[in-house]
């Protein structure tokens, strides 16, 4: 019976060869003719028996060929067949038949002798395959045997039928099939593993018949079962409809593939597709089991299989699989009972849960969801656990077939841990995240920690420092971690930032310098090698992320962008993108030469990969993407990434940001040229950069600060003590911008200063700096300087350490008629005398003024209704009326009145301005503060002539800044002069020489200012300064210029004059030297040796000894060379000459007062006043005493 079965099977096998090979032989071995064959096939299906026969012939021909050449080995086989396939079909057939005949005798013999073995082999193979499947091997191998079986079955079934029908071809077919069988048997023998041998060993001679019979029966049973299926798949092709047709086609191909795979181990997507299971494949049963036990159970069942196979009672299962699903294992088998038997007695498998998996779902079971992106060596990964969470790491080594890897990252080592008690350490470990820091063996050893040099387990080539359970190599931490749980690959949406990479790289490069003692030279080298590889990695990655971050891989290119060609003939060419489509760009070359070279072509088309965005140094750009998105700034450098050429489509640009004055590195693909200046993005939770905010959580209540940086989720705030710290939005208690805008503070000269004012810092660490008030809080000014880079230019200074330098609102109001913006180099002439109406004004008010008392209200009146804040905050004494004699501080001013808050009574009174007398600043101080209108002080009786006091400081500023431009305040300054005949006035007017003129006809009191200024601080030169000496400014003092040192250091003589003017080191008083000097005039009066105000070049003098008229030509200290009328020169001391009183129509120079330096023709003399006509036709009213006649 057993034999009978065997004989039947043999026939089946023969048929199998016949049926399988027609397609298999052709298609798999011969790719050229595969399509033809498949069409043949389909023809055959439609055409019925005849075409079937022909295809069979063709197939058998191929088979014969194969059989014949099988001895030569597989590769030879393949090539042979390829050659053959090129030949004519008929030829093929003949040849193949011949070869088949030749081969047949051998194969026949083998067939007979190995018949029995063959059967068992098959069984054992199945078991062997179980193993393979259990280890998740590909399904192709099991299927091969399965297909064999299947084919056996089907062929077996068709055997008789076919034999009957195709007598003619039969003989050949049989022979061919035998040859194939022989070949296959040989192959099987080769492939048999230990299991085979095992089976043979146990396969005793006295194996009882019943056993054999059982196997035979089983097989027969199986064949019968499959007979039902196969006809449709293999034979019934002609009958099935199109849909099924495709299925069967697929099955055919499947087999072809499998056969092909025997020879060609590689597989493609198509072949993968063809592996989809069908009804003809074994079924799959699912069992539940405890989670985590899957693998173990699979092993158990495998062992059971082996054991049973040894005993000669193989289980009828094909494979056991623990797939992706947790708590499930799958058993593959043709028979359900076999499955039951296989799991019987296996502990853990829940037999009751046995479920058959529908065919459609079988692929799902086996589909490996690639949720874990495989990690390769030198990939970047991110840590997901512990202190390292979020850190970047580099895969150093992959282990456990991709389940684990050795990563390299920057350690976060807490050296203090080991000193703590276990409990404390536990707490600390949980709470404190140590900073990233490279491991330094010396440092650690220096702290007395225990350190061992040890090889990293499994990586014998790396010597590491072993400390506290971790391995450190080259400063980095090496650690074996599980992929997926401890590290995750860096996805495209979260690429390592340049920052991180650089942080990562730093050590490597510094390692080269040897500050990390590795002890071994080759390790040093490895360090540098690592650096190199990291650098490459970096550039590669930059390229990659450059691509991915722009999404569609358009490299951030947009129409209108300037690009540079980086590849091809036109490399280096620059042009503008005219149009874009997917992969190509049309570019219009920028320079005409290129245009010409292109022979009149307007546009050139390039591949996207051939161009890169070109960003010029100096361009103003906006960052469109990435970490610094929406920052704007100026490109200060563009660096091509060194390293491989692949990434050179992307450069790194260094951008100096507008708002924060930081340098950031950005890829050019993320940049967009733009004139926009970012401000909007510096917002977080309603707060913006430079907002004045109230801080909470600090030690002191009411701590305020200014936001100097807006981070992603926190701010940097510089508080009122100048200390910057991080603050989260929750810590901020609202903005105080409005309050800041309204606030008024007083500078060191009691000038009112407000937000937006420009101040000079006169003391402290920032001494000499000029900055703008951004915000203020009480007495603290938050100043902004564009020159400073830290804290985005903001720094904190007390208001009383500053002095207003101009640009005040009042100043702007006064100079309303003037230039709208600070004009650093307007010519002085254009800055003075704002139109004739001012002159009129002067005249008109003259009378009124002469009646006024000596108060600053004169100045105020002079501004004609403009509110003058110069009295604000001043301490005044009321001179008349009900409150006469009371002291108070001015709390409010109008054009005519001041509101005085009395010191002694809780009361505010309105007093006419004329009736108050300034005696000090807000704090009552009356010290020398370099008052701008010092002459006012001189008149304050109780202060003493020599003590300058605070007063109308404004004019002084007019003197010092361009902004002031010598408008109203200037006149104001001049006004008191007209006050007429106070003794001090006369003294003042009296001629203490202090000015000296130099050779040129420009008198520059500003020179002194600038000199002092310069001496005080070199850094302080103003932004808009310099440059201001215009050729035609002879008529006017440069009191509007804040002259750059270079502009003035050349020839101005003030500073090196006989130095009657005390050179005060205090910068602010120096600042106001030119006004202060009028104060000094009175103080130095009488000291005969001091030069008079008018003692300067070009002034006409009279020698005291002989009343001869002379002109001062040169001044040396207190001596002067004068030129007499007869052109002879003489040297005189300053005491030996007197000034020639100017007369009408003389050319005169104003030596004092607000119009000091003005030159003009004296038109008329009116009492103590003189009217002079400037060269620009303007009229000026000047105190006569200030005039000195000059030589024309």
């Amino acid at each position: 019976m057993a034999f009978g079965t065997g004989g039947k099977m043999m026939g089946g096998k023969m048929m199998r060869g016949k049926m399988l090979r027609p397609t298999g032989g052709d298609d798999s071995d011969d790719s050229d003719s595969s399509s033809d064959d498949s069409s043949n096939e389909s023809e055959g299906e439609r055409g019925g028996v005849d075409s079937n026969v022909s295809s069979e012939k063709a197939g058998s021909a191929a088979n014969n060929n194969k059989a014949a050449s099988s001895a030569k080995g597989k590769s030879a086989n393949l090539s042979d067949e390829e050659e053959d396939s090129d030949e004519d079909d008929d030829d093929d057939e003949e040849q193949n038949r011949a070869s088949a005949k030749r081969a047949r005798p051998d194969s026949d013999e083998e067939e007979d002798s190995e018949e029995d073995d063959d059967e068992e082999d098959e069984e054992e193979e199945e078991e062997e395959e179980d193993d393979q499947r259990a280890s998740k091997a590909k399904k192709k191998r099991p299927k091969i045997s399965f297909i064999d079986d299947e084919a056996e079955a089907s062929d077996d079934d068709d055997d008789d039928e076919k034999l009957r029908n195709k007598d003619i071809s039969r003989e050949y077919i049989d022979k061919e099939a035998e040859a194939i069988m022989a070949q296959q048997d040989r192959r099987r023998q080769r492939e048999k593993g230990w299991l085979d041998n095992l089976g043979r060993l146990t396969d005793d001679k006295e194996k009882d018949d019943s056993d054999v019979a059982r196997i035979a029966r089983e097989l027969e049973e199986r064949h019968r079962r499959e007979r039902r299926i196969i006809p449709r798949g293999v034979l019934g092709e002609g009958r099935v409809d199109n849909n099924n047709n495709s299925v069967s086609m697929m099955m055919m191909r499947e087999r072809e593939e499998m056969i092909a795979e025997e020879n060609i181990p590689s597989y493609t997507a198509v072949s993968q597709q063809s592996l989809v299971p069908s009804v003809s494949d074994p079924n799959l049963w699912m069992f539940s089991c405890p989670g985590g036990k899957e693998q173990e159970l699979v092993y158990q069942i495998m062992n059971k299989c082996v054991a049973f196979a040894k005993r000669g009672k193989p289980l009828g299962i094909i494979s056991v699989v623990a797939a992706q699903t947790k708590g499930k294992i799958y058993v593959e088998s043709y028979s359900e009972p076999a499955v039951m038997e296989a799991v019987q007695g296996v502990r853990g498998v829940m037999q009751y849960s046995m479920t058959k998996v529908p065919i459609a779902d079988m692929t799902t079971v086996m589909t490996v969801v690639p949720k874990k992106v495989p990690v390769k060596k030198n990939d970047w990964v991110r840590m997901t656990r512990g202190h390292f969470k979020g850190d970047l790491a580099l895969v150093h080594h992959v282990r456990d077939s991709g389940l684990k890897c050795v990563i390299q990252c920057v350690p976060r080592l807490d050296l203090s841990l080991s000193d703590l008690t276990p409990d404390e350490a536990k707490v600390r470990r949980r709470t404190v995240k140590p900073p990233q820091k490279f491991f330094n063996a010396q440092e650690v050893a220096g702290m007395g920690k225990h350190l061992i040099r040890q090889r990293f387990p499994g990586l014998s080539d790396i010597m590491c420092d072993y400390y506290d359970g971790n391995y450190y190599h080259d400063g980095y931490l090496l650690k074996e971690v599980t992929i997926g749980t401890v590290v995750k690959p860096c996805m495209a949406d979260d690429p390592p930032t340049l920052d991180e990479l650089q942080r990562f790289r730093r050590k490597s490069s510094s390692g080269d310098r040897g500050d990390y003692d590795d002890g071994k030279d080759d390790e040093e080298n490895e360090g540098s090698h690592l650096a190199g590889s990291l650098l490459n990695e970096l550039s590669e990655l930059q390229g990659k992320t450059g691509l991915t971050s722009t999404g569609s891989g358009d490299r951030g290119l947009m129409i209108g962008d300037t690009i540079e060609v980086i590849e091809g003939d036109l490399v280096g060419m620059q042009g503008k993108i005219m149009s874009l489509d997917g992969t190509t760009v049309k570019v219009r070359p920028n320079n005409d030469a290129a245009l010409e070279e292109l022979g009149g072509m307007d546009e050139v088309e390039f591949l996207m990969s051939q161009v890169r965005k070109f960003i010029a140094v100096g361009a103003h750009v906006k960052v469109t993407d990435g970490r610094y998105a929406n920052e704007t700034g100026v490109v200060v450098a563009v660096e091509t990434i060194d390293g491989d050429a692949e990434s050179d489509f992307d450069c790194t640009a260094v951008v100096l940001t507008d708002m924060t004055h930081k340098e950031i590195s950005v890829r050019t693909s993320q940049l967009q040229e733009s004139a926009e200046i970012a401000s909007g993005q510096d917002k977080l939770a309603g707060y913006e950069l430079h907002d004045l905010v109230v801080l909470s959580g600090g030690g002191s209540t009411n701590e305020v600060g200014v936001i100097v940086r807006v981070g992603r989720e926190e701010f940097s705030v510089i508080n009122n003590h100048g200390i910057a710290r991080e603050a989260r939005p929750e810590e901020l208690r609202g903005k105080r911008n409005k309050a800041s805008d309204r606030a008024v503070a007083l500078d060191v000269q009691a000038n009112q200063i407000r937000c937006g004012d420009s101040v000079t810092i006169v003391e402290g660490p920032h001494k000499g700096k000029v900055a703008t008030i951004k915000r203020m809080s009480r007495a603290q000014l938050f100043l902004y300087s564009q020159f400073r880079s830290e804290h985005s230019g903001i720094f904190v200074v007390r208001s009383r350490s500053c002095v207003l330098t101009g640009g005040t609102k009042a100043g702007r109001a006064a100079g309303a008629a003037g230039t709208p913006r600070e004009s650093p180099f307007s010519t002085p002439s254009s800055q003075t005398g704002r139109g004739p109406n001012k002159g009129e004004l002067c005249r008109h008010l003259n009378d009124a003024l002469s009646n006024c008392s000596f108060t600053h209200c004169l100045i105020i009146i002079f501004t004609l209704g403009e509110r003058d804040d110069s009295l604000m905050g001043k301490t005044v004494r009321i001179q008349a009326g009900q409150w006469k004699g009371y002291l108070g501080s001015v709390s409010h001013t109008t054009a005519t009145h001041v509101q005085v808050e009395l010191h002694s009574r809780l009361k505010k009174v309105m007093v006419v301005k004329e009736r108050v007398h300034v005696i000090g600043d807000k704090f009552g101080a009356t010290g020398e503060n370099g008052d701008g209108s010092g002459f006012g002080m001189a008149r304050t009786p109780f202060m003493g002539g020599a003590t300058p006091m605070h007063g109308g400081a404004t004019p002084m500023h007019g003197g010092a800044t361009p902004m002031y431009g010598g408008a109203t305040p200037m006149h104001g300054g001049a006004t008191p002069m007209h006050g007429g005949a106070t003794p001090s006035r006369e003294g003042y007017g009296g001629s203490t020489p202090s000015h000296r003129a130099v050779a040129d006809d420009v008198w520059r009191p500003g020179g002194s200012i600038d000199r002092n200024h310069e001496a005080g601080d070199d850094n302080m030169t103003d932004v808009g300064s310099g440059w201001s000496v215009a050729p035609d400014n002879s008529s006017q003092v440069q009191n509007n210029s804040f002259v750059d040192s270079n502009a003035t250091s050349g020839g101005v003589g003030w500073g090196d004059a006989s130095s009657v003017v005390k050179q005060d080191d205090d910068p602010y008083s120096a600042m106001h030297m030119h006004t202060e000097n009028s104060v000094m005039n009175s103080t130095i009066e009488g000291s005969g040796e001091d030069a008079a105000v008018w003692f300067m070049e070009r002034v006409c003098v009279q020698l005291k000894k002989n009343s001869a008229q002379a002109v001062i030509k040169e001044i040396n200290g207190s001596q002067a060379v004068v030129e007499l009328e007869d052109k002879s020169t003489q040297t005189v001391r300053n005491g030996e000459v007197t000034m020639v009183p100017p007369q009408e129509h003389d050319m005169v120079l104003v030596t004092g007062g607000a119009d000091v330096g003005v030159e003009g023709e004296l038109v008329c003399i009116d009492g103590t006043d003189a009217i002079l006509k400037e060269s620009n036709e303007n009229f000026k009213i000047v105190d006569f005493v200030h005039l000195a006649k000059i030589a024309t």
Partner: protein, 183 residues
Amino acid sequence: MFYVKTLEHEIELEPIHFGQKLRATIVRLLKEEVEGLALANYGFVVNVIEVPEDQIRSGVIEYDTGNVVFYVKYTALLLRPFINEVVDATVAQCNELGFFAYVGPLRIFVSKHSMPEDMFNGFDGERDSWVSDDKEVVISSGCGVRLKIKGRTVEQGNITAIGTIKDNYLGLIDDGSGDGEGL
């Protein structure tokens, strides 16, 4: 680069200015308005050299204000930075990112990236100066440097530039101790 060019400007005058000195007023106002301004295409107007009287056209009265608009042609001395132009500038301020230098009104920023390699890390915060590795070159405020303009930013009424000293014959030319170099 400095150059002289004839430009045109529009001056609006109130009727109060009409009279004998009209032209003088126009010239004065023109200077006030124009000098120091940076015109986007022409650069800084350093000085109004000449306003030919005959080039002041008769004004046009604006009917809604009564003001008169004069179109004035004038020749002006202009300073315009050109890309790749080499200029001598005075250093005004150093910070850790580079230094600012001035050519008259033109501010030029030289980033540390645009300095020779041996100065890249050479910022001396105490002295606020850039020092080369061999301490030979010290750039601090007041120094004269020769630099090449690499980029230009035109803003409303102002022009700033980016320069480099990383090239042959560029760099420090005057350490600020001597008298000012001819800028």
